[in-house]
Amino acid sequence: MVPVSYYVALATILFTIGAVGVLVRRNAIVIFMSIELMLNAANLAFVAFAQAYGAMNGQIFVFFVITVAAAEVAVGLALIVAIFRTRRSINVDEMHELKG
């Protein structure tokens, strides 16, 4: 058997890459992809632990996460399309009207 720690390490690396991507990248769609990466890293961790300890809770939870991620992407992409229509750009650095 592959030890659980390998899966958790992989999940961690994926999560970190996603986090950095959210913080560093300027393209809105890339940020969304990074968020997806973070969510899926968490999914991986859930499934690994579910298999390791024989509890179904982890796998059920993954369902929820996937659903929520999908809904969120739908809304988010709609927003991005709307922004692009007015601004012709999705560079988040240029969307700073709400500054104080």
């Binding site: 986090a19 913080l23 560093v24 988040v92 650095d93 969307m95 700073h96 709400l98 500054k99 104080g100």
Partner: protein, 700 residues
């Protein structure tokens, strides 16, 4: 029938509040609806109100014939504080009903006369809208006088007393913008009020002493307790009597407070007739008659009252001899006749005094109203002549009341002449007119009760006849001395009919109390227990009638014969009165009324005015207002206010508020920098926060 039944059982007595209410309703109707009603309606409403009051008085008299004791009709509890209980009750007895009949009867006739008189007068004075005000005041007067005579206690009497004083003021100063310097009439009204007020002060002291001694104001209770109190504290009754006398001298214009009555002639003639001849001035006489039970206990006070009356009678009669204004002669005559009445009730001859009160009301009202008729006649003809351009220059400003401008009116104003003659003969006391019987009764009583006063009154009676004769001859006989008098015409029926009625009463009034029958005395006896009636004394009657005839003859010789002779002298040398060259400085003294007004002014009024001016201008204004208020109070306060506003409020309070605001702004400015608007900054903040929390949880 119902009336006689009610009369005997006394049910009619309960009508007495109506004598006050009818005039009150009349005046309310006139106040509220007067402007819309028109002159005739106003006059009719007022006259009907007075007339209904008279009808009620008649009914009360009928009831009294059946039931001599009378009754006290309680209306409501007026004052009830601890031991002080004063009801608003009406006393119906022969004395009060006599007064009610006189007031309402003569009052109604004068109201009717005024309908015609005021119609002319408001137009002569230029204030047509004053008509309504006049009748409102007249009805108010009747109401107040009725309260005075029907009261059952001294305090309610005082309410009426003050009320008539107020109406007198309002009516004397009725043409308040006319008179000398435009304020003469108002000043006369003020003088009347002030003189009356001084009298009222005396009345009030008497009332206070009475309450202190008796504990009550009600007539019946006071009179019951009087003998006991007189035994225990005789000076108290004396004090009450003397202080009440001060009130009487004010209201009934005796020495020393009579000075307001001649000035009161500034009011319209009906006012002079009603208030200053027939009714208000008799209130003092009524008061003394009502308080008979008190006065008879203090003979010294009675003597003083009688002397005051007697001296006033003579004093005023002498002044009347030298007056030229037709109304002033009648005013001094009134003071003199009131002196007769006060002397009578002072001596203890209460019925004689009341009898003279009644007859005097008739013929004095008659004389005043007739003089009004004459004045109107002159004013009218003056106006017509002016209108037609036939007025001589010397007559442009004609005083219609000056007898020197009259003459020969006998032919032009016949009715007025005859009624005036009747009034004058009645006043002089010529039998068989009313004045003879009443004056004779007073003289007969005086001869027995107080011979000094008898002498004073007899001499006064001589002068009375003389000045009335003088007046008759100056006004009605000889040739008219001015064009206005030459063209004067008789007044219409609304003026002459009341005069004729009053003349009839002046002729027949003697029947009230013929010697031997003494009907009136017996009538009053039911109320006043101390009725002293002397038998008819032929000697006294002969002396008084003889003196009156001598006086008339003297007046005829002077004012008919000699006056006519003097008219033919050139105007520069012609004396305005045949007596002037004969009496010289004495005449001037009489004409100037012994300079009493001037003496009062110098002794009392001027110092008082100076003191009050000093207090007002110097003490109150300069010291108190200017110095104290401005320097001591206002300046420090203003300095403090200025410091509080500019130094404290502006700098400190505003500083705090501004500092708060500025701090908030700068903090806001600093915190604003967190909101960059960049999504990645916010994401970084979230990330850092999560890391911090997880680290904290792991290392805990």
């Amino acid at each position: 029938m119902l009336l006689s039944e009610a009369a005997t059982t006394g049910g009619l007595f309960n009508l007495v509040p109506l004598v006050v209410f009818f005039p009150v309703i009349g005046l309310l109707i006139n106040i509220i609806f007067g402007d819309r009603m028109g002159e005739k309606a106003i006059g009719i409403v007022a006259s009907i109100a007075a007339g209904l009051s008279f009808v009620v008085a008649v009914l009360l008299a009928i009831a009294l014939i059946g039931n001599h004791e009378g009754a006290v009709v309680h209306l409501f509890d007026w004052i009830h504080i601890g031991d002080l209980y004063i009801p608003w009750s009406f006393q119906v007895d022969t004395l009060s009903v006599t007064m009610m009949l006189v007031v309402a009867g003569v009052g109604t006739l004068i109201h009717i006369y005024s309908i015609g008189y005021m119609h002319d007068d408001v137009r002569f004075q230029g204030h047509p809208d004053a008509y309504k005000r006049f009748f409102v005041y007249m009805n108010l007067f009747i109401a107040a006088m009725m309260v005075l005579v029907s009261a059952d206690n001294y305090l309610m009497l005082f309410v009426g007393w003050e009320g008539v004083g107020l109406c007198s003021y309002l009516l004397i100063g009725f043409w308040f913008d006319k008179g000398e310097n435009g304020t003469g009439n108002a000043t006369a009204g003020k003088k009347a009020f002030v003189a009356n007020r001084i009298g009222d002060f005396g009345f009030l002291i008497a009332a206070f002493v009475m309450f202190w001694a008796f504990g009550t104001f009600t007539f019946n209770e006071v009179f019951e307790q009087a003998p006991a109190v007189a035994e225990a504290m005789p000076t108290v009754i004396m004090a009450i009597a003397i202080f009440m006398l001060i009130g009487v001298t004010g209201k009934s214009s005796q020495i020393p407070l009579y000075v307001w009555l001649p000035d009161a002639m500034a009011g319209p003639t009906p006012v002079s007739a009603l208030i200053h001849a027939a009714t208000m001035v008799t209130a003092g006489v009524y008061l003394v008659a009502r308080s008979a039970a008190l006065y008879t206990l203090v003979p010294e006070a009675q003597n003083i009252v009688a002397l005051v009356g007697g001296v006033t009678a003579l004093f005023a009669a002498t002044i009347a001899v030298a007056q030229f204004d037709i109304k002033k002669v009648l005013a001094y005559s009134t003071i003199s006749q009131l002196g007769f009445m006060v002397a009578a009730v002072g001596m203890g001859a209460f019925t004689a005094g009341m009898f003279h009160l009644v007859t005097h009301a008739f013929f004095k009202a008659l004389l005043f109203l007739s003089s009004g008729s004459i004045i109107l006649g002159l004013e009218h003809s003056h106006h017509h002549l002016e209108h037609d351009g036939k007025l001589p220059k010397s007559e442009a400003a004609l005083d219609p009341q000056d007898m020197r401008n009259m003459g020969g009116l006998r032919k032009r104003m016949k009715t007025t002449f005859w009624v005036y003659l009747i009034g004058a003969l009645a006043l002089a006391g010529i039998p068989p007119l009313a004045g003879f019987f009443s004056k004779d009764e007073i003289l007969t009583e005086a001869k027995v009760l107080n011979p000094t006063v008898y002498i004073l009154l007899v001499i006064a009676a001589f002068f009375t006849a003389f000045y009335m004769g003088r007046q008759i001859f100056m006004v009605f006989f000889g040739k008219p001395r001015t064009e206005s008098a030459g063209h004067a015409e008789e007044r219409p029926a609304i003026i002459t009919v009341p005069l004729i009625i009053l003349a009839t009463l002046s002729v027949t009034g003697g029947l009230l109390s013929l010697p031997g029958l003494h009907t009136f005395s017996h009538w009053l006896e039911h109320t006043l227990e101390h009725v002293h009636v002397e038998a008819f004394n032929i000697q006294v009657a002969a002396i008084s009638t003889g003196l009156a005839l001598v006086a008339f003859t003297l007046a005829y010789l002077l004012y008919y014969r000699r006056y006519q002779q003097q008219q033919s002298m050139p105007p520069a040398k012609r004396p305005d009165d045949p007596l002037r060259p004969m009496l010289g400085p004495v005449f001037t003294m009489l004409e100037n009324k012994y300079w009493v007004d001037e003496i009062y002014w110098a002794l009392f009024v001027n110092p008082y005015v100076n003191i009050s001016r000093f207090l007002a201008d110097i003490i109150d204004w300069n010291f108190w207002h200017d110095w104290f208020h401005n320097k001591v109070l206002a300046r420090p306060f203003r300095l403090f206010a200025r410091w509080t506003a500019w130094e404290f409020d502006l700098k400190v309070i505003d500083g705090i508020a501004n500092w708060l605001g500025n701090t908030t702004i700068s903090m806001g400015g600093s915190l604003r920098r967190i909101q960059t608007g960049y999504v990645r900054n916010y994401a970084l903040a979230v990330f850092v926060g999560v890391v911090a929390i997880v680290t904290f949880l792991l290392l805990r």
